[in-house]
Amino acid sequence: METPGQIRDRILARFSGAEVTVVTNPGPAAQHSLLVGAAHATAIATFLRDDPVLQLDTCSNVTGVDWPGREIVETVRQPLAPEEDADPAAPPGVIEEKIKRLVPGSLEVVYHLYSVALKHGPVILRLRTADRAANVTLPSLTPVWRACEFQEREVFDLYGVKFTGHPDLRRILMWDEFQHHPMRKDYVEPDDYEWEPTPHDAVLTKARRHYPAPPAAPEEESTP
């Protein structure tokens, strides 16, 4: 099978203006992936499916991944301008400056594509949303592979990615009235609590918030 780099080159040759980059996987599995811009995603997916060399006729797995925005601290070293009366042999002074930079978060959808006809794979496609709040729209690949139908609904349900072009985009695992997206990293589970005799500190603290004192354990019933 072609390497992700070769596939990228062919896609770029075919679709001018498409954004495709190879995301290297540093782990031992070495399953590299292709990060595809949302604008051409459906066209690229159709190309990958119909291309006679690749024939990626099935999408095995659709995964949502949440990458929250994070702050990284970079240390920038700047040479200090040498003072006039300084000893020229002395090494020039260096000023270290710490710059905080906010890396914007995004939601990512990962598609694992395989070819049943040619028995090869996986080719991994990644689509990323612009951010995690307002612009969470991505094109749906369900028209290309029906296998994505339920899995994209699941990503919508658990991550909140809105797929345009999906025939039936509803919540699938959570109930319809549910408000949040529980697989996001910043999801806080609701503070509902039913007293149970687990002796953990965390659980007990939670219990005390809800009950001033835990309810008395029901009395042992007499054996009939």
Binding site: E196, T198, D201, P218, T223
Partner: protein, 232 residues
């Protein structure tokens, strides 16, 4: 011929019906609780703690309250507090060892990660209780069972553990002896606190009579298991 498949199927059911009267392979029902099949040796249900001396079930627990099992337990059903003396010095044994078996998933990971062979899997399965809250939360006293009991339920595994522990002990003794030979004074000083600690142990824990394990050794063993387990 239409219907021959049906007749063939009926012949199979007839064979099974007749066979159920004389062929043990076709009549597999065990009439529990009058009859019990023998549990395989590897069978696991819920964990228990091993103690070495039945006279002092809480003082001689192998558990040193290192909390590795508490950290590794996938459903977080173990809760351990280490016992400390008045000065706050750790006594390397649990003051509280609670195990919520309504949460436990019997995965045996606590047994695998325990470096002291202190926690093992029990085979007691008749543990239904009428008190949902207290009855399924086992404390140190309920969990503490003797090494002899461990030998009874997992004979092969227990023999291996005992051998490993004996070897470890011999190694430690040898190391101690090697250390003690050049400096006998140091050895003497290290020995005193140890004996003091054991004395303190027995003083602190009054050894409450632990309830005998429900699956006591005198439980009538199954006279003739209808289905000998594959391991037998």
């Amino acid at each position: 011929m239409l219907g021959s498949g049906l007749l063939q199927g009926l012949a199979v059911t007839a064979k099974n019906l007749a066979g159920s009267f004389h062929d043990p392979a076709r009549y597999v029902t065990t009439e529990y609780p009058e009859q019990r099949t023998k549990l395989p040796e590897n069978y696991r249900n819920f964990p228990f703690l091993v103690h070495d001396d039945p006279a002092d079930p809480n003082g001689t627990l192998r558990c040193v309250a290192c909390q590795i099992c508490e950290k590794e337990c996938p459903p977080q059903c173990i809760y351990i507090v280490m016992e400390r003396d008045e000065k706050g010095k750790a006594l390397r044994r649990p003051k509280v060892f609670d195990l919520d078996i309504s949460v436990c998933i019997s995965c045996q990971i606590c047994v695998e990660v325990c470096p002291f062979d202190a926690i093992k899997m029990d085979q007691e399965y008749e543990i239904a209780t009428r008190n949902r809250f207290g009855g399924l939360l086992l404390h140190r006293e309920d969990l503490s069972k003797s090494n002899a009991y461990y030998h009874q339920i997992h004979p092969t595994e227990a023999a291996g553990v005992d051998a490993a522990l004996a070897e470890q002990k011999a190694k430690q003794a040898a190391a101690k002896a090697a250390k003690a030979a050049p400096a006998p004074k140091a050895a003497a000083t290290t020995a005193t606190p140890a004996t003091a600690a054991t004395a303190q142990d027995s003083a602190i824990s009054p050894a409450p009579a632990a309830p005998p394990p429900a699956s006591a050794p005198d439980t009538p063993a199954n006279p003739a298991p209808a289905n000998p387990p594959p391991d037998a």
